[in-house]
């Protein structure tokens, strides 16, 4: 439903580019604080690389802990970009317009952060960095082993990162051209180069539109494959029975969309408040996203139940011990209770009500709650699975993160938010041309005597 007022093009430009020109004290205070947290986390990473991974809480059964949890979490958040942009663009949902850019940018920055996690988590990151950049080791004369899920994983993530950057860039070109026309000096030169000679001719618009649709369609398989492959990092492990599950790929993908779309809603509400975009991020958009979330959350919950059912149905010792640890042993059982409440039982019934979906405060709280829950979900999959690996009961153990790990995890959250806010200083977070297009193309449907703006455009 189109509930906003119609503005002139100049008004839209002025409003949406305000984040580039004006900057409030609040903005710099937030960015500064986040930067400080990132700095502290960087020091923690340096300390860890200097001393060795012994400064973490990892131990012999639990070789992967907080870092891998965080890796899966950020990969999950990154799924929102394509979910919203590509699928909604292809399905011509009108309400996507203010959300797409924010979602795509969140995708890029969370992917970048996610990629950092396995790098610093390896024993010898200086050697892993080499392998990530080049697939052949000249000194040792070996290729990488393509049987390993740890080779599929960076391949998938890097493909996703490259295509999302292209996706964002194609959508940015017309907006960059507007900034170019409004700036001067060195800025003008930089934006001129970035706008690739955009003059707004019909031919250019045609190419831009085709590129956008093509990329949307091509990126969809990547979107499904990335989290499937991330899930196979776990699914391929035959020794860890609760990981070795065929349901993991769809379960992880839908879980990623659940947390990713929630992340986008949180960010949109914060952005609306910080930059004063009340006329662009409107209640109707959040309402539509809330309905989408409702569907996703219920689908995800089905997979969660199935995962537990398959696990318990087998009646195997180590699998049962894992479930026992997840559900009945403190502190993991407290994590489980918090997880199930924050990820499903609290937010999802709330979203059933239109009033809640149109209340920004409640939507902010529920979507942040989903992401707290989804972070814990990944932790509950990774750690108890390893801690109760196989039936050698003497090697069973638990895991507690060290202060170093917690600092670094906090740093990643600060980093994504900081990069997001800094992006807003350089490029508009809401696509200008898309909003204008939406105003031009708005359809009206006749229902009886009344005329109602259409949500989906028909051609």
């Amino acid at each position: 439903m189109y509930e906003g007022k119609t503005y002139s093009n100049k008004q839209i430009n002025d409003d949406l580019l305000s984040s580039l020109t004006k900057s409030s004290l609040v903005y710099w205070a937030i960015v500064g604080t986040l930067g400080l947290i990132v700095l502290v986390a960087t020091v923690a990473v340096a300390f860890m690389i200097n001393k060795g991974l012994g400064v973490t809480g990892l131990n012999r059964p639990v070789m992967w802990g907080f870092f891998i949890t965080n890796f899966v979490f950020w990969i999950g958040i990154s799924h929102a970009g394509v979910m919203l942009s590509a699928i909604l663009r292809l399905s011509k949902a009108e309400w996507r317009r203010p959300a797409t850019r924010a979602a795509e940018v969140l995708t890029i920055f969370s992917l970048m952060t996610a990629v950092l996690m396995p790098l610093i988590h390896s024993g010898r990151p200086w050697r892993l960095v080499y392998w990530v950049m080049f697939p052949y080791d000249f000194q040792r004369g070996i290729w990488m082993d393509i049987r390993s899920p740890l080779v599929w994983d960076p391949a998938a993530v890097n493909t996703y990162l490259t295509s999302s950057i292209l996706f964002v860039f194609v959508a940015l070109i017309p907006d960059i051209a507007i900034i170019r026309d409004r700036s001067s000096g060195i800025k003008k030169i930089v934006y001129s180069v970035l706008s690739l000679g955009w003059r707004g001719t019909t031919r250019q618009w045609k190419f831009q539109a085709i590129a956008g649709i093509l990329l949307s369609a091509l990126i969809l398989p990547v979107f499904v494959s990335v989290h499937s492959i991330v899930s196979w990092d776990f699914g391929m492990a035959i020794a860890v029975k609760s990981w070795h599950s065929t349901i993991f790929a769809p379960y992880f993908v839908i879980g990623a969309v659940h947390s990713g779309v929630s992340g986008v809603v949180s960010v949109m509400i914060l952005m609306r408040w910080l930059f004063g975009w009340q006329n662009y991020v409107r209640h109707e958009h959040i309402d539509a996203l809330g309905r989408l979330l409702l569907v996703i959350a219920i689908a995800w919950f089905y997979f969660l139940l199935m995962e537990f059912m398959f696990g318990i149905y087998g009646q195997e010792g180590d699998e049962l011990a894992t479930r026992h640890m997840q559900l009945l042993e403190p502190p993991w059982m407290w994590f489980f209770i918090v997880f199930i409440i924050t990820a499903f039982l609290f937010p999802v019934p709330m979203w059933l009500f239109r009033r809640v979906r149109r209340n920004l405060w409640l939507m902010l709280i529920t979507t942040i709650s989903v992401n707290i829950g989804m972070w814990l979900e990944r932790l509950l999959i990774i750690v108890p699975g390893l801690a109760r690996k196989q039936v050698f009961t003497g090697t069973w153990y638990t895991y507690a993160p060290s202060i170093i790990e917690i600092t670094i995890i906090g740093g990643t959250f600060a980093m994504v938010l900081m990069l997001f806010l800094l992006f807003a200083k350089i490029f508009p977070l809401i696509p200008l041309f898309d909003i204008k297009e939406g105003q031009v193309l708005q359809d009206k449907i006749k229902v009886g005597k009344a005329e109602i703006p259409a949500v989906i455009r028909e051609e």
Partner: protein, 242 residues
């Protein structure tokens, strides 16, 4: 051309008394750092061979059961395909080999090992100065950030090949390994002959004979890992014959 070997081990649980001599022998042969209390408490102790103890029965008839567990050198090893850098691979002698300088420390192999016999160097290892001359020059001291595990004392196998197959030009038989003291350190140290090492391709060897015993089984055989280590189950006189 020298005969193709396939090294294997037989562990006779009936003979194991849990004395830990193999653990100590392995530690000094393979430059495994000294485990202190804190290492055990944080579950980071390195024991390439460990004795797992299980209690059996109800009080007062409680019995301690011991089982030595070390790298099973699986023919179908789960740790191998998950390594992105070929740091762990299978060589042509049936050994699961760990190449330290290739390892980047993803620890995926450790996660994927059902026997929990892979050890990560969380810190650089250290020894008191008095023990510096004790280190074995044939074995690499592993730096931090890489995985390590039982090698079946590959340095001793190589020495046997060099001396017997290379210099003398003779065939390396089971008897020559025993006579020349080329067996892994744990096998040498075992006072009860629980551990038997040998060539599974040599039909006359003791490992082949023992591995065909009707007490023989392999750990987690249901996972399809095809270990090269055979366990002989405990002889229980009280048990009824089937």
């Amino acid at each position: 051309m020298a005969k193709q070997h396939k090294w294997g081990m037989v562990v006779d649980i009936d003979r194991c008394i849990g004395c830990q001599a193999c653990v100590i022998a392995c530690q000094s042969e393979n430059n495994v750092p000294i485990n202190e209390e804190v290492d055990f408490l944080s579950r980071r102790a390195k024991q390439w061979i460990r004795i797992d103890r299980f209690w059996e029965g109800e009080y007062p008839n409680v019995k301690a059961r011991f089982i030595p567990v070390f790298c099973q050198h699986c023919d179908n090893a789960p740790c191998e395909p998950v390594c992105p850098t070929y740091a762990t691979y299978h060589n042509d002698q049936g050994l699961n080999v760990q190449v330290y300088n290739r390892c980047v420390g993803t620890r995926y192999c450790a996660n994927n090992c059902p026997y929990q016999v892979r050890f990560f160097n969380f810190f650089n290892p250290s020894w008191p100065e008095s023990l510096w001359n004790q280190l074995n020059p044939d074995v690499t001291v592993r730096s931090r950030g890489i995985m390590e595990k039982c090698t079946f004392c590959v340095q001793r196998i190589r020495r046997a090949e060099r001396l017997i197959e290379g210099q003398k030009g003779e065939e390396l038989t089971d008897q020559k390994i025993k006579d020349g003291n080329f067996m892994p350190a744990c096998v040498n140290a075992c006072p009860t002959d629980t551990l038997v090492f040998g060539d599974l391709n040599d039909e006359t060897s003791e490992v082949v004979r023992k591995s065909k015993s009707d007490r023989s089984y392999r750990l987690f055989a249901e996972l399809g890992t095809e270990p090269s280590v055979f366990y002989l189950k405990k002889v229980d006189p009280a048990a009824k014959s089937h």
